[in-house]
């Protein structure tokens, strides 16, 4: 059947306002053998938008490595699961809430945290740590301040209230996010290996149960909005933003975990984007069954809600479950105890259709396979731009005596200054298992009741990705890997959040393809698979795309917490060494952008063999107790990393080094490098081990005093470093 029997003009705009293309609509008509009614059209639009269907990205995501000895569940469920020994597993995922946070920063960010928490506890895990990766526009842009304080407030407001520590994250500012900020939230949870819950519905006739908050008119079309580009009218689309209720989420978390101890739940799925629609269809599709729902039974917050509204509402703090019929009363009593809604709204059927009733009338009847398997999938055209050319800088271009002054400028810049102002607004210690607080490399939380810990880090350098998407993709993965190594943990797996512009533009699609290729190569080489993730496309305003931003969230395991490492310098008299090769790569460095306002020179290339070799060397030294502190060398280069170690340890250092090109050495951003603190009696062993492993090692200087002093250059007091490092956010 074709579209010939529908009224083109009215329906065309209806179809378009649902974010569907005309050929997609024809596909619906063909699949159903008739035209959809409005509710059905709404359901298709929710399922087939970019956010839920991954229609532009699916083909490419399949290329990522997703398996490994420790992977129990890779992509495809609410969150990924890895084995962390002793019958314990870690469950984690990252998700974006970019568009809502731009419209209403506090609530947008808050509900982003709420959503990712549900993804994790749906799997049977108790969330133990939150992380967040944020990108804002130019600090001087009139909107930035309001967005920063709203987003930080919202993340804290939700996480603090529910009582899950927010242990880290990252924040950067760049004009490419002026009209489109990024708010990516990650949650890590802990569960028992034999108590993981999945979303496949099963058991014909079993009850489908709705729990949590009532359904209101909030967020209708949220998922469609998340897949649409912004323009200046977007602020008119406001009412689609939802208000988060962390208190109810806390009750929902406790009630779900309590019920999970019983043998009651067959399948469970949170209601996230596209609410009841995507959750019911996902459960049916995974279980290869049908689901009948009586919408009159759905707990409603507003009067006279229609089937369309009920199916598309994105009210927060709700879950859908299939339970054992015999356990219905037990389950009900648990949810009543926690003052939450509990309603049987339907049953599992063998029709393989989603059938909706309301007020005794059928409202929709759609074969699940049309919604899921027949969902559009595109191999969009793409162009890979040539990477920006590498520039080789030379000593004569720089005036060496300004090094300490440049350092002060760099560490007081919004992109390198202390983030304390942010993390002090997050409760990062609740649950009393935080071992490494924000401000070090990876955050570390203890697995409750044990002596092992989970290390977590999120990272991405969009400038690197913009100038060389392949190396940039590699870099984001490797940067988290290095942070985890530096904390003393064995890196295990990652989640990702792919934030890009409009995929219908071939250059943007090219960035996506290349970032995936880089990520994949790094993951394969490092045995560091992708176990979950999220894609956010159409991050554009008025046709201006954001920089490609594939944020990576890495997780590692510290088997013995006494091996945990932090970045703060510990003792006077110890020696600081640099591990890894330095080649004065200043291209697209923070030095160039902050001191010279330049964005060029190419992305540093990453030698994965060196990464692996140096990382293994560090872990080996840690397990032999050779090191007192460790910091990876990242943004800003060696001298910024040294300053960070001094500031957090409140220790000075006497740097004793001779180089032809000091700027290149101190501010270059060559990869695969770490700074390590070693006590005098371990120096020899370190040097011997390094030469055995063929790892490059260089003595930087001796710890002590109240300043950073560099032979032949001068010195700068610790107190001045601290002032410069902390002032920007406090004055923002």
């Amino acid at each position: 059947m074709t579209s010939s029997n529908w009224h083109f003009d009215t329906e065309k705009s209806l179809v378009e306002s649902h974010g569907l293309k005309l050929d997609e609509f024809e596909k619906i008509v063909e699949g159903l053998g008739r035209e959809p009614n409005l509710t059905e059209l709404g359901i298709f639009s929710a399922m087939w938008n970019e956010h839920c269907s991954y229609k532009s990205s699916k083909y490419w995501l399949k290329k990522l490595p997703t398996s490994g000895e420790r992977v129990i569940q890779g992509p495809g469920e609410n969150a990924g699961v890895i084995d962390i020994d002793d019958g314990d597993v870690a469950v984690f995922k990252m998700e974006s809430h970019n568009h809502p946070s731009f419209l209403e920063p506090y609530q947008g960010a808050a509900t982003g945290v709420g959503g990712i928490l549900r993804d994790v506890f749906t799997m049977g895990a108790r969330p133990v740590a939150n992380m967040n990766a944020l990108r804002f526009g130019d600090p001087n842009h009139p909107k930035t301040k309001h967005l920063v304080s709203g987003v930080v407030g919202g993340i804290g407001g939700y996480g603090n209230c529910i009582g899950i520590p927010t242990v880290g994250g990252e924040v950067n500012f760049h004009p490419s996010y002026n009209g489109n900020i990024l708010v990516n939230a990650m949650t890590v949870g802990i569960a028992k290996k034999d108590k993981i819950f999945y979303s496949a519905a099963a058991g014909i006739g079993n009850p489908v149960v709705y729990v949590g908050s009532k359904t209101g008119r909030d967020g209708i079309h949220g998922a469609t909005m998340a897949s649409a580009e912004f323009d200046d009218d977007s602020e008119e689309k406001k009412p689609t933003v939802q208000v988060g209720d962390p208190f109810t989420e806390k009750l929902l978390l406790e009630a779900c975990l309590e019920l999970m101890k019983e043998d009651a739940i067959i399948a469970i799925q949170d209601m996230g984007a596209a609410g009841l629609t995507s959750s019911s269809i996902e459960m049916a599709s995974k279980g290869n069954v049908g689901i009948d729902i009586n919408l009159s039974k759905v707990p409603m917050r507003a009067a006279n809600m229609t089937a369309y509204e009920l199916m598309l509402s994105e009210s927060q703090e709700r879950m859908l479950m299939v339970i054992q019929p015999k356990k219905e009363e037990l389950a009900r009593s648990i949810f009543k105890k926690w003052d939450l809604e509990f309603e049987v709204i339907g049953e599992v059927t063998d029709t393989k259709k989603l059938i909706l009733h309301m007020n005794g009338e059928e409202q929709a009847s759609i074969p699940i396979n049309i919604l899921v398997e027949d969902a559009p999938e595109y191999q969009r055209d793409y162009i890979v731009n040539d990477p920006s050319p590498l520039i080789s800088f030379e000593s004569k271009d720089f005036e060496d005596k300004d090094i300490l002054n440049d350092l002060l400028k760099m560490i007081s810049h919004p992109n390198l200054c202390s983030r304390k102002w942010i993390w002090e607004q997050y409760d990062h210690m609740v649950m009393a298992d935080t071992v490494v607080r924000p401000g070090s490399d990876a955050a570390v939380v203890r697995v409750h009741g044990t002596n092992k810990g989970i290390a977590i880090s999120t990272d991405c350098s969009p400038t690197y990705c913009r100038h060389n998407s392949y190396e940039g993709g590699k870099h984001a993965v490797v940067e988290t890997w290095r942070n985890i190594v530096a904390s003393g943990a064995e890196p295990i797996a990652i989640t990702d959040c792919m934030n890009f512009g409009n995929p219908e533009k071939p250059e943007i699609m090219g960035q996506f393809v290349e970032c995936i290729r880089g990520m994949g190569d790094a993951c394969s080489k490092l045995n560091y698979p992708v176990i979950s993730g999220n894609v956010s496309l159409y991050n554009e305003t008025n046709g201006e795309g954001i920089y490609p931003t594939p944020v990576i969230g890495g997780v590692g395991l510290i088997r013995d917490l006494s091996n945990t490492m932090t970045i703060d310098l510990k003792n006077e008299g110890n020696v600081l060494y640099l591990i890894g090769e330095s080649n004065n790569h200043l291209g697209n460095s923070h030095y160039l952008s902050i001191i010279q306002s330049r964005e060029d020179g190419g992305t540093p290339s990453i030698n994965l063999d060196d990464e692996l070799k140096n990382g293994k060397f560090i872990l080996d030294c840690i397990s032999k107790k050779l090191l007192k502190s460790v910091h990876d060398v990242g943004e800003g280069g060696v001298l910024v990393a040294i300053a960070e170690m001094c500031i957090s340890g409140k220790q000075g250092i006497k740097i004793d080094i001779t180089k032809d090109f000091l700027h290149g050495f101190f501010f270059g951003e060559d990869q695969a490098r770490y700074l390590v603190e070693v006590s005098q009696n371990k120096l020899e062993q370190l040097e011997v081990d390094a030469s055995k492993s063929a790892v490059k090692i260089e003595r930087i200087g001796e710890i002590g005093g109240t300043s950073i002093s560099i032979n032949s250059i001068g010195e700068v007091e610790l107190s001045s470093l601290i002032d410069h490092h902390t002032k920007w956010f406090n004055e923002f």
Partner: protein, 223 residues
Amino acid sequence: MKTHVIVFPGSNCDRDVAVAIQNIIGSSPEMVWHKDSTINQSDLIVVPGGFSYGDYLRCGAMASTSPIMKSVIENANKGVPVMGICNGFQILIESGLLQGALMRNSSLSFICRDIIIKPTNTKTIFTNKSTISKMPIAHNEGNYFANSNQIKEIEDNDQIAFQYCDENGDINAHSNPNGSINNIAGVFNKSKNVLGMMPHPERAAESIHGCDDGRNIFESLLS
């Protein structure tokens, strides 16, 4: 020692304090759901931190009307030690067991960081082992307020438990994290068997916390 920890909907430091009690006092507390109505025999009742009822309306207000609070008040009046930490402090204030009020931090933002406190009265069951201690705060509404008559009364009766100070024990504006009047971080009732404090001793109770100064409050109770 028989101990009890009250659990309200939204409490989130209940487990943390239970772990600290188990580790320091040596026996695990009984967790009491707020809808239960009586605590029969107790040597210590802890009202833990968190966001009871989401901190909606006013921190601690709704929890203070929960059924269990009648029994907590009766026990307190009988002389049973009762300790409120953070949100628990707010609840004890709202229930009338302690004087004053806890308002929004003067910075208007949530603050989570280490602070230092000095015990003002070390002759009580909670503070007989206390010295200048470092431990975290994590709150939005910890700005202690009492009008001048109340302050005088509290001071005259030695009811100030802790004050925020610096490394040297100096109590000054610089060491006041939230705007509390007279740097007050914790107070007692008149008979000193009820303590409310904003800092979290249970988060400074073992070596992985980086500091275990919080232990001395629980250790005081043992002696």
